[in-house]
Symmetry: C2
């Protein structure tokens, strides 16, 4: 009894599939695209030579000391040993990309409740000279002050002011640039400051944050008026007495109102 043979049609672009069948018996209609049938092994994957490793790289923004910063690690490995790089890792087969990004970040910072968002997928053939890797970039926002994480990995990680960050490996510079653009857009579509500030903050801090993100000076009165009209802030009775002799009122975000606003979808210009 000869072994069972299969045939495949090469070009399979039209609908993500190609015809598969037994020689002389027509296609096997139940057969999944890109599967190969082998009479001993049962179904197995086709085109495994086109499988690739999927990495996630995280652009982690923090706001500290009136500056917008990103978290980088020094690469201790060739190629590009000693150069700075984004925090990253590989997606495991049992998880999706969001989970992979969360895991990578959690392993580093020990924190789980962090704003993350998928940014873009980078796939140039030679982007990683070592091997073919596709990288999905995520950007994350964390409040540096409240999150004094003690992760072991932190020996190798460091916060850099965005304006004074070193050159990065591979296409990581591009990723950062795109993340900054995205952050800028988000800042105008949702009061994203939430994620980057401590629970209680002054108007000044909020404004400085926006000035850093948008990279331009804002008028204090206009800024406050606009933000107040958004109606997502609660002024506390507390004051921060360290910033001025007079002291400055502390605010928190009104999470409920904020969430409602985000759902409604709104934009606001600065």
């Amino acid at each position: 009894m000869g072994s069972l043979q299969i045939f495949l049609r090469e070009s399979a672009d039209a609908g993500s599939f190609c015809y598969i069948g037994r020689k002389g018996h027509g296609r096997l209609p139940w057969c999944h695209p890109y599967l190969v049938y082998d009479h001993r092994m049962g179904l197995k994957y086709y085109k495994s030579e086109d499988k690739v490793l999927l990495a996630v790289d995280c652009i982690i923004f923090g706001f500290d000391n009136g500056e917008l910063k990103i978290l980088l690690v020094r690469r201790n490995m060739e190629p590009e040993m000693g150069k700075w790089s984004l925090i990253g890792g590989f997606m495991k087969k049992a998880e999706d990309l969001d989970q992979a990004a969360t895991r990578v970040l959690q392993n580093l910072t020990g924190l789980g409740d962090i704003y993350m968002e998928q940014l873009y997928t980078y796939s140039k053939v030679d982007r990683d000279p070592g091997q073919r890797t596709i990288s999905v970039a995520y950007f994350a926002l964390i409040d540096v002050a409240s999150h004094q994480f003690e992760g072991v990995q932190l020996e190798t990680a460091r916060w850099f002011p965005l304006s004074d960050a070193p050159d990065l490996i591979f296409d990581h510079n591009k990723m950062v640039a795109k993340a900054v653009a995205r952050l800028r857009r988000r800042a105008l579509t949702m009061p994203i400051g939430f994620e980057l500030l401590p629970d209680k903050f002054t108007m000044r801090q909020l404004q400085t944050l926006y000035e850093c993100i948008l990279d331009k000076e804002l008028d204090k009165r206009n800024f406050i008026n606009k933000f107040k009209s958004l109606d997502v802030l609660i002024r506390l009775d507390e004051k921060d007495m360290t910033v001025a002799r007079k002291g400055a009122y502390l605010y928190t975000f009104d999470k409920d109102k904020y969430d409602r606003k985000v759902e409604e979808g709104f934009s606001f210009k600065l």
Copy 2:
């Protein structure tokens, strides 16, 4: 002579790398992350069990007969045989995602000069019940009228009005929804109509296109005023006499001015 052994550190998230070296000899500093050294094979990939197939799926928008449409194919394969699906294919190891998307589209339509843009990467573990596949969605804009493509594959492909499209396989509905949102945003950031209209078009066509994209009626005078003030249109001396007794002037985009505008970055509200 015993075989050369290697050791790896398992958790490798902090910087996309892990330590690799010969047992007892410290790590090999020149060795790339996630490579394994084998004395017979030389370098080979590590963690190949976490490699996955990368698909691209294209949301192809067309504008025809005053309607916004998408191009779908009927799936002739299990699972989900007979259901409608986006046009897709797999990325080959020798190409990047943009190239894969272009190839997929070119194979289908025979056309190469098409506006395409990466949308989002979908990676839920069970998104394709057949096997683990990650899909990178692209959205494309083509002018149906000028591009009467004769691709062989077209037997299986069909244009559907966006408002009357069938349910799609996997997470393709989600992809379409996201693409529509992106298209809407683009329409307000760049005069994207360019891509969806024939070379020469009437103001009415342009307005109808925008009405379809934004899904709301627009005032004719305001629309024309705003678009004229953008200064990217050239009014030709020709008229389209089929649309009205009076005839309607034909316009083209001023590609140069348009490109300059896009570079400057501008937004305009409708």
